[in-house]
């Protein structure tokens, strides 16, 4: 459809003889909040890797915002507005927290053709805004090694957001967080939706996914088995048997 921000068509990925993703079709509209669930090893992170360019898909096509992404390097996809966070946070360990955010500002926001170039002062201001958004102002000048696991996840999210994405893919940003912290991050992701940023949320915490998602997609063993209204999807007998029932 013309107004789809992301459209994935028959995407496939193998690791040797193992089929990790098999004919995945998926669309995301601008500003949409999509939940993606599935058992461990069902291929969720592999899908994220294929969309963000960290891995190359073997078959199928990915279109984003009018561009065909096949074969495009990861940094180009980020510049087009497709950002992701990693399930296991990957901070730049030799840089401070605030410097971590500078990398996407310099290399993504300031590298967009035609977009206004942020001067040094504006970059600093943007960093402070992002740190405030995720509640890490107090840790701005610390090294990532000084952060707790939760703060590390917040940094991971802030760095993805620093690239000014049109679509953010958050790969299990809330694993291991307490209830109030989950609500915290959820509220943050909700606000992104209000700003017109589409979000794909990969999550095992059902309460969080259901309350967040406008649409829910279920992956099982590399195949998409359900896609639709969250409340309908969680009652789908196949989903219950393959995922929720286990």
């Amino acid at each position: 459809m013309a107004d789809d921000l992301l459209s994935v068509d028959k995407l496939g990925k193998r690791f040797g003889g193992f089929v990790a993703l098999d004919g995945i079709d998926l669309t995301v509209r601008a500003g949409e909040r999509l939940g993606l669930i599935g058992p461990n090893g069902s291929g969720k992170s592999t899908l994220v890797n294929c969309l963000s360019g960290t891995l190359r898909n073997d078959s199928g096509t990915v279109r984003f915002d009018g561009n065909l992404l096949n074969g495009l390097a990861a940094h180009r996809r980020t510049r087009l507005g497709l950002a992701r966070s990693f399930q296991l946070p990957k901070p730049f360990r030799s840089l401070t927290v605030v410097e971590n955010l500078r990398v996407p500002l310099y290399y993504s926001v300031n590298a967009r053709p035609g977009a206004p170039h942020l001067a040094e002062a504006a970059v600093g201001e943007r960093c402070r805004e992002l740190l405030r958004l995720v509640g890490l102002e107090a840790k701005a000048d610390r090294q990532p090694q000084d952060l707790t696991q939760i703060e590390m996840r917040k940094l991971e999210l802030a760095r993805a957001l620093a690239a000014e994405p049109k679509l953010l893919i958050a790969d299990e940003a809330m694993a291991g967080l307490s209830n109030s912290e989950v609500d915290n991050i959820l509220a943050l992701l909700m606000r992104l939706g209000d700003r017109g940023i589409a979000v794909i949320l990969i999550e095992h915490i059902m309460r969080a996914v259901i309350s967040f998602s406008q649409r829910l997609v279920v992956l099982v063993a590399g195949r998409k088995i359900a896609d639709g209204d969250p409340h309908a999807v969680v009652r789908d007998p196949e989903v219950v048997r393959a995922y929720l029932g286990e």
């Binding site: 940094h75 980020t78 990693f86 990957k90 730049f92 993504s108």
Partner: protein
């Protein structure tokens, strides 16, 4: 150190060393000083790729040799002045570094290191079998005895290397503080995260390897004039590789200061021991210092000093 202060200090250092050298009458000091400065250039150049981007180059001897032999070729064909030879040596080895990078920089860690070592060996073999540049017999370079305004030729070479060292250090410092340097740091820390943050990792690595190898070739270009007799075994000596890796590691790889401290310290010790004991000890000294460094100061001398300061700051 601010940028103004850095430039003042660098210019002052060059002028002071130069002025002091006018007072020295013993030529040996210049022979030794040349080697020390040459290692400042090599260690600084190596660190641009090895320290900033985290790619360990085992091919220093190859790039020194390429710089030296591009001088031999030009000397036989035209015989241009040293600054031109340095420029050409830099361009040739920078271009070869770029080509090597294109083929190998997709490899990580050990594989990249092995590829660079293999490159050095291949180039040495080619030169050894190239009659025009003397092959394995080597080649004699006749250099003028004096240079106008400066004095003996070795004084001139010393001065040239002094300026080159200042240029290399200034280049490294500029890179370190630039957006480019930020990108290299991101690559060193996590290449996947760098890519998805928008960093064009391959392009940045190619620029870094070109600059790094180019500076190494520049350091090697005056070598035929320094030794006056050059053969492949000495131009492609693996000692260059070992020393050039050890110096930044001992000094500290995180900033431009580390390689400078490491190079001046280690090369001076080697020069002194060559005179007082024997040059056979040079590699042993490198090995022992490297071992001590790994145990006592894993982040080099600079890391050790910074760590002490930070701890002192927290305590007080």
């Amino acid at each position: 150190m601010g940028t103004k202060a850095f430039w003042l200090a660098t210019t002052a250092a060059v002028l002071i060393v130069f002025a002091a050298s006018r007072l020295v009458t013993n030529d040996y000091v210049f022979f030794a000083g040349y080697v020390v400065l040459q290692y400042v250039v090599l260690a600084t150049a190596w660190n641009i790729l090895g320290g900033y981007a985290g790619y360990i180059n085992f091919g220093t001897s190859g790039f020194v040799g390429i710089g030296a032999y591009s001088t031999v070729v030009l000397h036989k064909l035209v015989g241009p002045p040293i600054p031109v030879l340095i420029l050409v040596g830099g361009i040739v080895s920078g271009a070869i570094g770029l080509g090597m990078g294109y083929l190998t920089l997709r490899l990580r860690g050990v594989y990249f290191g092995i590829a660079t070592l293999a490159m050095a060996i291949v180039v040495q073999t080619l030169v050894t079998n190239w009659d025009f540049v003397g092959g394995s017999r080597g080649v004699y370079i006749i250099r003028p005895a004096h240079v106008p305004f400066i004095g003996g030729y070795i004084q001139y070479l010393f001065l040239v290397m002094l300026v080159l060292a200042a240029v290399a250090v200034a280049a490294a410092r500029t890179i370190e503080r630039s957006v480019f340097g930020f990108g290299l740091a991101a690559i060193r820390d996590d290449e996947q995260a760098a890519e998805v943050s928008g960093v064009p990792t391959l392009r940045l690595k190619l620029i870094a390897i070109s600059v790094s190898c180019g500076l190494m070739g520049m350091a090697g270009a005056p070598l035929p004039y320094y030794v006056t007799y050059l053969d492949p075994a000495s131009a492609f000596n693996l000692g260059y590789t070992a020393n050039t890796i050890a110096m930044p590691l001992i000094g500290g790889t995180a900033s431009w200061v580390g390689p400078v401290i490491g190079a001046i310290g280690l090369a001076t010790i080697q020069q002194v021991s060559t005179v007082t004991i024997s040059s056979a000890l040079n590699l042993l000294i490198v090995g022992v210092l490297l071992l001590i460094c790994v145990v006592v100061a894993p982040n080099g001398i600079v890391g050790l000093v910074r760590g002490k300061r930070r701890r002192a700051g927290r305590g007080g």
